[in-house]
C-alpha cells in the first residue's frame, strides 16, 4: 500500500512545471545523499582500502626482499658445500694415492724378499747338489777301485801283493778322475 503510494506517478496534483527545471527539494536531497556518501566513505572506507593496499604492497615487497635474501643465503651455502665437496674429493684422491703408493711399496718389498728367498733356496740347492755329487763321486771312486781290484785279482789271480795292487789302482783311478773332470 505504502509502496503503491510511494511510486505512484504524480498526476494532476503536481502543478504542471517544466520537467527540466530544478526542484529545490531534489537539489537539497541530492546534496544530503551525496554528503552522506562522501563523509562516511572518506571517514571509514577510503582510508581502510588505501591501508589494505599499502599493507599488501609492503607485505609483498618484504616477501620479495626476504626471498631474495634467502636465495643469496642458499647460494652461499651451496658454494660452501661445493667447496667442501671439492676439498673432500681432493682429500680422497690424496688418500687413495697414498694407499696406492703404500701398496706398491709393500708389493715391491714382497717381491724383493721372495726373490731373495728364492735365490737363497737356489743357492742352497746348488750347494746340496754339489755336495751330493762330490759324495757320489767319492763313493764311485772307492767302489770302482774295489771292483777293479776284484777284477784284477780275478785276472792275475793274486800275482801281485795287495799293497802294490792298491797303489797301482789308486794311481789309475786318479788318472781317470783327472781325465774325466
Amino acid at each position: 500500500m505504502t509502496l503503491a503510494v510511494l511510486f505512484a506517478e504524480a498526476h494532476g496534483d503536481v502543478q504542471a512545471k517544466n520537467p527540466i527545471l530544478p526542484e529545490t527539494k531534489e537539489l537539497i536531497w541530492g546534496g544530503i545523499a551525496f554528503l552522506i556518501v562522501f563523509s562516511l566513505l572518506a571517514w571509514k572506507a577510503w582510508p581502510a582500502i588505501r591501508q589494505a593496499l599499502a599493507d599488501r604492497e609492503a607485505r609483498i615487497r618484504a616477501d620479495l626482499e626476504r626471498a631474495e635474501q634467502a636465495k643469496a643465503e642458499a647460494e652461499g651455502v651451496l658454494a660452501d658445500y661445493q667447496r667442501q665437496l671439492a676439498e673432500a674429493r681432493n682429500e680422497a684422491g690424496r688418500i687413495i694415492e697414498e694407499a696406492r703408493q703404500a701398496a706398491d711399496q709393500v708389493r715391491r718389498d714382497l717381491i724383493a724378499r721372495a726373490e731373495a728367498e728364492a735365490a737363497e733356496m737356489r743357492r742352497r740347492a746348488a750347494e746340496d747338489i754339489r755336495l751330493a755329487s762330490e759324495r757320489a763321486m767319492a763313493d764311485l771312486q772307492s767302489r770302482v777301485a774295489e771292483l777293479s781290484i776284484e777284477l784284477a785279482e780275478k785276472i792275475v789271480e793274486r800275482s801281485l801283493d795287495r799293497e802294490t795292487q792298491m797303489a797301482l789302482i789308486e794311481n789309475y783311478i786318479n788318472q781317470v778322475g783327472s781325465a774325466s773332470s
Binding site: V5, A33, K44, I49, R50, A52
Partner: protein, 253 residues
Amino acid sequence: MILGAFEFPPIDELFRWKDVLLDDTPVAINKTAILMLVSATIVVVLFVGGSRRRRLIPGRLQNLLEVTYEFIDRGIARDVIGPEGARYTPFLGSLFLFILFTNWWSVMPFIQFPPTSRFGVPLYLALQTWVIYWFVGFRHHGIRYLTGHIFPAGVPKPLYLLVTPIELVQLLIVRPFSLAVRLLANMMAGHILLAALALLTAYALQNAPVIALGPFLLNIGVMAFEILVGFLQAYIFTLLTAVYIGDSLHPAH
C-alpha cells in the same frame, strides 16, 4: 494504423513524483529523494562494510572495492591531477559511486527511474564541483587564478576584448552548466526512451501481440546500453571534475 491510437503520457508522469513526507516543504521527500538515499545507503554499506575486515588475500568484495579505489586513484585522480591528486581521491571516488548508483536505478526492474534525470541532482553536483575548483584555485594561486585565466599570457592585448569574456563565462557558467546538463540530458533521454519502448510493448501486446516482440527486444537492448551510459556519465562527470581541479592547481595559462 494499428498504433494510431497510441498516446504517449504527459512527460511529467515520467519525472515528477508525489511528496510522501514533509509535503510541500523545501525538504519534501519524493521518489527521487528516496532513491538517492537508498543509493547512498547501498554505497555506504558496500564500501564501509566491505572495507571493515581487511585481509591480505582479498575476497571478491574487497577485491571489487580495491579495484574501484585504484580506478579512481590511479585512473582519474593521479592521472589527471598529478601526484597531489591522491588528496582528492576520496571526493572523486564518492562522486563517481554516488552518480553511478543513482544512474543505475534507470535499469532496476520495478524502479526504472534515475534520480539524476531530475535537474536538481546534477545541478547540486555541478555546483559543488564549481565551488571546489574555485576554492582550490584561489587557495593555491590567489587572485592570479582568476587573472591568469581571463588574461592568458601570450595573447595580444586587443584580443583580450574577445578572450576575457569567453574565459570568464567559461569559468563561471559554462563548466558547471555543461557538467549538469550533460548528465541530466543523458539520463533523461535514456529514461524517456526506455519508457516509450515499454509503453509501446504494452500497447502492442494488447492490440497487436505479433509486433510486441520488436519494441520488447529493443527495450532489452537499450537497457543494456543504459547500464553502459550510467557508468560512462558517472566516469565523465568525475573525470571532468578532476580536470577542473587539476586546472585550478596548475593553470595552463
